[in-house]
Symmetry: C2
Subunit: 128 residues, 2 copies
DNA sequence: TGAACATCTGAACAACTGTTCATATATTAG
DNA sequence: CTAATATATGAACAGTTGTTCAGATGTTCA
């Protein structure tokens, strides 16, 4: 996202004349609450980065420490740690400490559900 | 995403000594194909922008033209058109022309499935 | 045809993103 | 305590993103 000038709330629609008023009235009431929608977008955004999705993919299969993930995914431990922080802040992963090692795992099964839904979509789109 | 130096393929894992070899072996074979995973990440990325998700949310309820979407979502028609182009390129929406007006709608029910999965996750996370 | 409208497109810009590097913190072993 | 290891964190940088603006297509109708 980028700018956010004053125009957003008033000007943009003022020249539009091809509206379907009936549709707008009906749909307007069915829209998801804007704040909830921002949360959903944030969730997809987090899962929309290849590195993070690789981490999610790995954690679906087993809990793992940062070093395991780094070795498995060919990333630096620092990069993994940064992405895990984002996954942590979004409540997508949880962790437990065992001595020096911190084990990460998925926070709930919704995450893997969403992952598999995306997988099904892609498989059906990109297969004959 | 950003840089992509030479280090990614060789160096990062060379100093790591805390590996759980058994886990890596087992999980390594269960990982989703990297190319498929990139497609899935791209799908989530497209749905991870608030403006685009608002458009998806609206199109779940009814097909609409650019002007309808612009008025409903308080965006300029140009901004809507740019985002629709991205949704089109990702095969998330389809369109039909009727005279001057182009009507957009969701390309298949996977998109709404994914949307609702995200919604369920957020509702259960952010509710008491 | 030419005016009017709906939509698309390209350039430009600020805001944001993911990685790297260097360094800090935390935990254990000796 | 100190050394060693595992992870976290902050700054910096290049690449990317979404919007706006101006203008280009395409379509209809008089």
């Amino acid at each position: 996202m980028a700018k956010k000038k004053v125009s957003a709330a008033d000007a943009p629609a003022c020249e539009i004349t091809c509206l379907h008023e009936d549709v707008l009235k009906r749909v307007g009431h069915g829209l998801t609450d804007p704040e909830v929608l921002r949360w959903v977008a944030a969730l997809f955004k987090v899962m929309g980065d290849p590195s993070r999705l690789k981490i999610v993919n790995a954690l679906i299969l087993s809990e793992m420490c940062v070093c395991d993930l780094a070795a498995l995914l060919k990333m630096t431990p620092s990069a993994v740690s940064h992405q895990l922080q984002i996954l942590r802040q979004s409540d997508l992963v949880k962790w437990r400490r065992d001595g020096k090692i911190i084990y990460y795992s998925l926070d709930d099964e919704h995450v893997s559900n969403i992952f598999y839904q995306g997988l099904v979509h892609v498989n059906e789109k990109h297969h004959p």
